[in-house]
């Protein structure tokens, strides 16, 4: 695959091992500007490691990583300036209030003061956190913490969003707001890479989807291409996923449990 400027992210022959466990097994991956890209796979398939490699949180053992035209290994700080990240289980500073935390993140990304105030207030209102923003994060529910983490990723208007299970714990209204927001951001050329286990969300939201299994890339493409690859015309993502990952023996498993 040739490196082209239409790609927001380019991974070439990227591999990562943890002792005797292969987390990522020589994968090639391109993510285009302004698309919502879904990264799916069973537990421990290498999704989170791949996301961390893109952000520069994990150094690959081999291969090259280019993010927004920048070599992530050469200038990680320049990459991070343009990326918004929400980890799978965001550990926030629980001793700060929601407002203090967002103010902190805004300052970290050097967001101009009046813009910071405006964006924080807009997002707090949209995700219905108004009235609780002065409370310490330690007292927030899981969903509220997730909302704060999402706002902090959007705050500096990043060009690339890396979201690991972004809708986890969100109430239906907030989840819908986040989904619509991500869709609108694609019109502003903002790229989103998200990992999720909720296949209905991936099917509804993502322009293209990659399915990972044991560190390898099993399939990559839009729904039409994935159906073709799985030889399951007219099927949904769940059926495709189960077939490709070889985990379609659901009926037998359930029957064994009921014995």
């Amino acid at each position: 695959m040739a490196s082209t400027s239409e790609n927001a992210v380019e991974l070439r022959r990227v591999a990562k091992r943890y002792a005797d466990i292969v987390a990522v097994d020589y994968i090639d991956l391109d993510v285009k500007h302004g698309e919502i890209f879904g990264l799916l796979g069973p537990n421990a398939s290498g999704k989170s490691t791949t996301l961390k490699i893109i952000l520069g949180l994990v150094k690959p053992d081999s291969g090259s990583v280019k993010v927004l035209g920048i070599n992530a290994e050469e200038d990680a700080v320049a990459v991070k300036r343009q990326v918004g990240y929400v980890p799978e289980t965001p550990r926030l500073y629980e001793f700060l209030t929601g407002l203090e935390y967002l103010d902190f993140v805004g300052d970290i990304y050097a967001v101009e003061m009046s813009e910071k105030k405006m964006r924080i207030e807009e997002h707090l209102e949209a995700l219905e956190l108004e009235g609780r923003e002065g409370d310490m994060i330690g007292s927030y529910s899981q969903g509220m913490k997730q909302k704060i983490a999402l706002i902090s990723a959007f705050l500096h208007k990043p060009k690339l969003l890396i979201l690991d299970e972004p809708l986890s714990g969100l109430d239906p209204k907030s989840a819908r707001i986040v989904k619509d927001l991500l869709r609108k951001l694609t019109t502003q050329s903002v790229t989103t890479i998200m990992s999720t286990h909720i296949l209905e969300i991936a099917q509804a939201m993502c322009d293209r989807i990659a399915i990972m299994y044991e560190g390898r890339l099993l399939a990559l493409g839009n729904m039409k291409e994935l159906r073709k690859k799985a030889r399951l015309p007219g099927s949904d993502l769940e059926e495709i996923f189960l077939k490709l990952t070889g985990t379609e023996d659901i009926k037998e498993v359930v029957e064994a449990l009921l014995k």
């Binding site: 520069g56 949180l57 150094k59 001793f95 209030t97 050097a110 105030k117 207030e121």
Partner: protein
């Protein structure tokens, strides 16, 4: 009550220690023999001491010495339950204080079919595992062995039962205290509104300082001996205090007052039962109590540049410094950093004032003043430096995913260490000046020296803190690897001695510290200048090392 449930819950509590000991979680293995080694060792040691004292007693030819040993043992036995009660209470409360800093506390699994009585009993017994149980085994085996030589085996048996009951009594009291404290602090935070953060900060400091001062007073110097004497001689006079009834049972038994012994023992059992019942009821009522959310700010949000921005820090650096300041005033486990300097001032001060029965000093001590001015700031700088990276814990991903350079990272962390340590030095210096009234020359020299130490030791410990950071948070934030902490402490001690040596030479030549030989005189300002040069070299080199470590840290981040 299902006893098997109690045993299983205790087993879980014991296993929670695995995370503290920092063992590998993958392919986890542990030796069962090692778990019991401590208790077996205490038993063997206790028996050895008991036998040694017994043989010495048997072999003593002087009847006066023999009688003295017998009398000593006879007065010690009834004091032991009260002494074990005090020590168990101190240790179980210490464990509770440490638990206040546990990120993920071990909550009662209320969704499982376990009763509050089972949970309370398991929690009470589990808190005795460790130092309290080791103390009981050590003392118990010792008196059992010695009593054979005295011919007092029944008394030793009663004493061992009394020791176990005392420890249980102490742990039950701590359990009650824990539940009430959680409920009370929650109510106080709710009532204090926006001031809750400062109420918690000052309240925690006062409690911990009082606790440690009492602890040091009891365990250092003549304090413990005084305590034994007071308990041995005084518990009869205050018989109405139920906590002393176990000791009084033994005293009555030894005096041949069997009816009184039975009465006190029954009263003790009743008291233990009542306390335990109270603990169960309190746990059932408040055991799953969640303290109310602390609301820190209300009203319109107005971002501002702030003092740090005006001092030339970038928005990123200022944000990190502000965040760290909030961390050290709001996170309980980090408040300890303020306790050590306070205790270090209070201990010599109380000694000077003769609080612990020792004669008070007639004139202000130069040493005390130097210690108050130099000690707290320097200790603070070392502690902050080693902890300030690891305290980020799981939230360290913010630094890895943020556009922060190594230069900014080290700059803001170092600035925080220096700023906070200097504030502590100024506050301590003001207290020292009020107490000791030193000459202006000496006061200024020590103040400058303290700031020099902060700059040098802060840089050294920050470099080490980056390299040896430990982000483990479960169940307790570790912050720094023990070996790193130890090596840094030793290195800082050596460097501090080197930086302070010119001033020490000045103190010697001026006769503040008498020595038998005469040394060439050194001017105060020359001594300070030499210290300043040494500080500049140490701080510069250490800062470069910290930068190098930070570059590696930010690149090799793997979370």
């Amino acid at each position: 009550m299902k006893w098997k449930n109690v045993v299983r819950l205790i087993s879980v509590e014991i296993k929670s220690g695995r995370l503290i000991r920092g063992q590998r979680l993958r392919r986890y293995r542990e030796s069962r023999g090692l778990q019991y080694l401590l208790y077996g060792g205490a038993c063997v040691l206790g028996l050895a001491i008991g036998l040694a004292v017994g043989y010495f007693y048997n072999g003593a030819s002087d009847p006066e010495l023999k009688s003295l040993i017998y009398q000593g043992a006879y007065s010690l036995f009834p004091s032991l339950p009260t002494l074990i009660l005090i020590s168990s209470m101190v240790f179980t409360m210490m464990a509770q204080i440490q638990r206040a800093g546990v990120t993920f506390s071990i909550q009662p699994p209320y969704w499982l079919p376990i009763t509050w009585m089972e949970h309370t009993l398991a929690s009470t017994l589990a808190h005795l595992i460790g130092v309290p149980l080791v103390s009981i085994i050590l003392v118990g085996s010792g008196i059992a062995a010695f009593s054979i030589f005295l011919g007092e085996l029944p008394l030793a048996t009663f004493t061992i039962f009394a020791l176990l009951a005392s420890a249980f009594l102490a742990s039950t009291t701590t359990e009650i205290f824990r539940v009430l404290q959680a409920r009370l602090t929650g109510a106080v935070y709710k009532a204090s509104g926006k001031a809750a953060v400062w109420v918690r900060f000052i309240g925690s400091l006062l409690f911990l300082v009082a606790f440690y001062v009492v602890w040091f007073a009891l365990t250092s110097g003549a304090g413990f001996v005084t305590l034994i004497e007071v308990v041995a001689g005084g518990q009869q006079a205050v018989w109405f205090i139920p906590y002393l009834w176990l000791g009084l049972t033994l005293a009555s038994f030894m005096s041949g007052l069997l009816a009184q012994a039975v009465l006190f023992s029954l009263a003790s059992l009743l008291f233990i039962f009542v306390l335990f019942y109270l603990a169960v009821r309190l746990n059932a009522r408040f055991g799953l109590y969640e303290p109310p959310a602390i609301t820190v700010s209300r009203g319109v949000y107005a971002p501002k540049v702030g003092l740090l921005g005006k001092l030339g820090f970038s928005s990123l650096e200022a944000a990190v410094i502000r965040k760290d300041f909030k961390a050290f005033t709001r996170r309980r486990e980090l408040m300890y950093i303020f306790i050590m300097p306070l205790v270090f001032i209070l201990m010599p001060l109380m000694q000077q004032l003769g609080v612990w029965g020792e004669p008070a000093a007639t004139e202000p001590s130069h040493f005390l003043f130097a210690w108050i001015l130099l000690g707290p700031g320097a200790i603070m700088a070392v502690m902050l430096g080693t902890m300030i990276i690891g305290e980020e814990g799981g939230a360290v991903w913010h630094f890895f995913s943020s556009p922060i350079t190594a230069r900014s990272f080290v700059k803001c962390k170092y600035a925080f260490i220096v700023l906070l340590s200097c504030i502590v030095t100024i506050v301590c210096g003001a207290i020292g000046i009020v107490i000791s009234s030193p000459s202006p020359d000496i006061a200024i020299a020590l103040l400058v020296e303290s700031v020099l130490l902060i700059f040098a030791l802060g840089a050294v410990s920050l470099g080490a803190g980056i390299k040896g950071a430990d982000f483990t948070e479960v169940p307790r934030p570790r912050m720094v690897r023990p070996l790193t902490a130890l090596v840094t402490m030793l290195l800082c001690l050596i460097l501090a001695s080197a930086i302070f040596s010119p001033l020490l030479l000045y103190a010697v030549t001026m006769g503040y510290i008498p020595i038998p030989i005469s040394l060439p005189k050194i001017d105060l300002y020359v001594a300070l200048s030499i210290s300043a040069v040494m500080t500049a070299v140490i701080a510069f080199v250490s800062y470069r090392i910290a930068l190098k470590n930070a570059k590696e840290f930010l690149v090799r981040a793997e979370i």
